[in-house]
Amino acid sequence: MREKETTLYIGPQHPGITGNMMVKLKVTGDTIISSSTHVGYLHRAFEKLIEQRNWLQSFTILCRFCVPEPDPMELTYARAVEELEGREVPERAKYIRVMVMELARLQSFMLWYAGQSGSAGLYTLGQWSVGDRNYVLDLFEMLTGGRVYHMYIWPGGVRRDLPEGFKEKTLKTMDYLEKRLDQYNQMLFDNTIFQKRAQGVGVIPKDKAIEWGVVGAPLRGCGIKSDVRIDEPYEVYDKLDFIVPTAEGGDIWARALVRKEEIRQSISIIRQVLDKMPEGEYYNRVPNPMKWTIPAGQVYTRTESVRGEIGFYVASDGSDKPRRVHVKGAAYTHGVTVLDKVLKGQNIADVSFILNSLGVCPPEIER
């Protein structure tokens, strides 16, 4: 029997990932012939809104680009503004920032565990990791006053110093999570179902990865060692001891292996940072935000987010508001331009499984 070509729509309601986006598939039987990504379901015009907010107000919007990892947005913006203005950041603040980045990575990885296993139909692990993620959010709440959106890293440093007992609580949480990771991995990596579904699926060819603009774990899963934290170290990453894991194969499995090791590296970085953090100021105060102007100029600042490199292009015309903040995130490339190439020849059931492994965050596409 000859199978007819059919059109299928996955989404736009949360197509197995957080955020609205639609993947339009052309299939014959269960096999994807071609796909295209459709966005526009949650366009919030953040970049435009920022042009009407002053330099400080903007930082409360930026974090909303991507729910699972708001903090790298704050840091990238802060660093861009600091570079434009020539504002120094106290050493202690740099350590705190790195700690926040890695805590952000941790909580985001735990969402990834849930998404990646859930989209393979393995639901137990997701319950665990999302539950455990709350312990990281507890830390955020203690440090910043907020659980999901922190609005904590701002130009000049961070908003408040570590509260009393924070270090101890964090170390305890790290010990707990480290133990739990073994159990997670038994549930995921040792699981035949996961192995069979992940291996050889959603392959990004190594020789295309860079050309396609792939970043983060997907790039490292092609055996390419690239990470802004070591390629162009910022804050205090150059003073810390950590490895950037890679894996071969370019498939979902390889990307998962990379993340599996990265999460351990994050725990190690958090411990190092807490150990080495100097006393002192945590904030080089900006002037009255209502009258704070930034010298005219433009910068492009890169940060390694959980989903890979994000870059902010920030331009100032010398006024009290950014002239332009343009965000280049992983989601746009991975979710729009790369997805089509990766989906070709895969099965319908793999769509959200692949989307999860690529770290696609629709709100970030539509900033």
Binding site: G131, R160, Q195, N288, M290
Partner: protein, 597 residues
């Protein structure tokens, strides 16, 4: 890996181990999380501490805050009477409002649960709708974490030892960089504007300075003050007392910023070039002005701009009134007066010097030859101390003493000077005497904190080693054999609480007579107006009430509708900016009276 990977099939079953564990989720009734000490929950506002500056509302990028009137909160100096209302449906709990609240009244609490079907229920007036939130404050601001800039850019001054050697200006002024930095501290709440007698556009010109638009700043300033460099140097600056930043820090240096802006125009020509005023065509009306003090000058300037033919009749040889003949030159130099007055002349103000109304020209003539009159006569006569030997050589009222010095003559104060009084005039008398090398003591009835003089003036006097003897009541001047002042006798006083709730009163201590030797006694306890120019026939209409004040309406119009009056002779505040405000109000009054009637 074979298809039947036994390990891979069995391993996940280890998850069953978790069955016996305590769940992560918390069950009712413990569902309410005990939030962190820094939790960013619902707002709370300390309504007493809040001054309604609206900064919270300005920063909120969600437009979640509007400022509203509350029934039991009154508008008063330094408090707009408005309070923030938060739309919890819009709020994103960024707490920027907390971090910019200059008073620290606005904080977030640990409370986070609220449900309602009605969207309007989410509009909360923090502090009113949740008074109990006060016990649950979490994300708060102190002066370290606040984004308000509480510290003033210090003003550079001549050193105390150096400055008493001459009449050189003590205050050196802000550099461009310092002015920009200081101007950045302003949060544009406008509480100051309300309190300024002249309602100068303070936030607007400070904003212009902050942005580097000094010319704009000067233009804005000249909109309702034609003598601003004087104000920039010596204004009593009630505005700074109500500055929102002052609640937890040092007020924005409004006066010094105005000074900075005016000094960017070093000549009368430059002022004219920058201000570029529109001078209306002549409207054919003539206005006569008595007195070239701040009140008279202000009225003249704005009348001239509006097309009136204005002439000032001034008894003295120089314009400026008490700012010329009272205020010492180390505070307000002559060239600064001249620059400002020259500019006024350049736009059409005419001044006839050495022309005293009532002596050199009669009031009746003036009345006849003009369509309106404005009297800005000030307080020229000093109050007497009312003690023995007050009239002997060596005893002189401060205004007379300062007049002699300021007009360029000299007065021998001898080696030891005693000044009586606690206001700015007393301090001026003392600091001037110091510049003649005298050893100076100020006798004041109350405590230093009760002195009406500007705190910076008091500090200035202290820096110059002037001794302030507080709680002292002079009783008599002792005459020497040469008929001149030899010493002063005073009683010490205790401060006694006032039964009627007024400020504490000094009560002399019996038998505490103390004698202080001196060569000169300068009395500075107040001045009053001289009405010898006002003919009897006018007195039924132009009413002078007790305290020697002319009675006027809101446009500074007297009972004789053709005659307007303002300045010290009209208002109780007796400072230059009030005189300017009066002059400005009279312009509107005269215009209404003549042009729009």
């Amino acid at each position: 890996m074979s298809f039947f990977d036994l390990k891979g099939l069995l391993q996940p079953l280890t998850g069953i181990r978790q069955f016996g564990k305590k769940p992560h989720t918390i069950k009712l009734p413990d569902l309410l999380l005990n939030t962190a000490d820094r939790y960013r929950g619902l707002h709370h506002n300390d309504l007493e501490a809040c001054i309604g500056c609206g900064n919270c509302s300005t920063i909120c990028q969600n437009e979640a805050i509007d400022m509203i009137n509350l029934e039991n909160i009154e508008h008063k100096d330094g408090d707009s009477g408005l309070r923030p209302r938060v739309d919890n449906g819009r709020c994103c709990w960024c707490a920027l409002c907390v971090d910019v609240c200059p008073t620290g009244s606005l904080n977030l609490t640990k409370d986070y649960i609220f449900t309602s079907e009605d969207a309007n229920d989410f509009l909360w007036i923090p502090g009113v709708d949740n008074p109990e939130g006060n016990n649950n404050l979490s994300f708060t601001s102190d002066t370290n974490t606040s984004l308000s800039m509480y510290q003033r850019v210090p003003m550079r001054e001549l050193d105390g030892k150096e400055r008493v050697k001459s009449f050189a200006e003590v205050v050196l002024g802000y550099s461009e960089e310092e002015a920009r930095r200081e101007a950045q501290r302003c949060i544009s709440c406008g509480l100051c504007t309300n309190v300024c007698p002249d309602h100068m556009h303070i936030p607007e010109y400070i904003n212009a300075i902050a942005k580097g638009n000094d010319a704009d700043a000067l233009k804005i300033i000249y909109d309702n003050n034609p003598f601003p460099e004087m104000c920039g140097k010596v204004c009593t600056r009630r505005c700074e007392e109500v500055c929102a930043i002052e609640v937890r820090g040092e007020a924005v240096a409004i006066r010094w910023l105005k000074r900075y802006a005016t000094e960017t125009a070093p000549t009368a020509e430059k002022i004219k070039e920058i201000v570029n005023p529109v001078i209306k065509e002549s409207n054919g009306f003539k206005v006569g002005i008595i007195g070239a003090g701040p009140a008279g000058l202000t009225a003249s300037y704005y009348l001239a701009l509006r097309g009136f033919d204005v002439t000032i009749y001034e008894a003295q040889a120089h314009a400026g009134g008490m700012t010329m003949y009272g205020i010492p030159k180390y505070r307000f130099p002559l060239d600064s007066i001249d620059k400002q007055v020259d500019y006024m002349k350049s736009i059409g103000v005419k001044i006839k010097y050495n022309t005293k109304v009532g002596k050199d020209i009669s009031f009746e003539d003036l009345y006849k030859n003009n369509d309106a009159i404005f009297a800005g006569i000030g307080f020229q006569n000093a109050w007497t101390l009312g003690i023995e030997n007050e009239d002997i050589p060596g005893s002189i009222p401060a205004v007379d003493y300062l007049n002699i010095i300021n007009r360029g003559d000299s007065y021998d104060v001898g080696k030891k000077v005693v000044v009586i009084g606690g206001g700015n005039v007393a301090i001026d008398g003392a600091r001037v005497s110091k510049r003649y090398g005298a050893d100076v003591t100020i006798l004041y009835r109350r405590r230093v904190e009760d002195m009406p003089a500007d705190w910076e003036e008091i500090e200035g006097a202290e820096d110059e080693d002037i001794h302030i003897a507080t709680q002292t009541i002079p009783t008599r001047i002792i005459k020497g054999d040469d008929g001149k002042v030899k010493a002063i006798e005073y009683l010490k006083a205790n401060m006694v609480a006032d039964d009627k709730g007024g400020r504490p009163r000094p009560v002399a201590i019996e038998g505490s007579e103390t004698i202080l030797e001196c060569d000169t006694v300068i009395g500075a306890i107040g001045q009053e107006a001289d009405y010898s120019w006002l003919p009897e026939s006018f007195k039924d209409k132009i009413e002078v009430k007790r305290g020697m004040m002319i009675v006027v309406n809101e446009f500074n119009q007297t009972g004789d509708h053709k005659v307007f009056a303002g300045g010290d002779a009209v208002n109780k505040t007796a400072d230059a900016i009030s005189a300017i405000a009066d002059g400005y109000a009279a312009v509107i009054g005269i215009e209404n009276y003549l042009v729009k009637k």
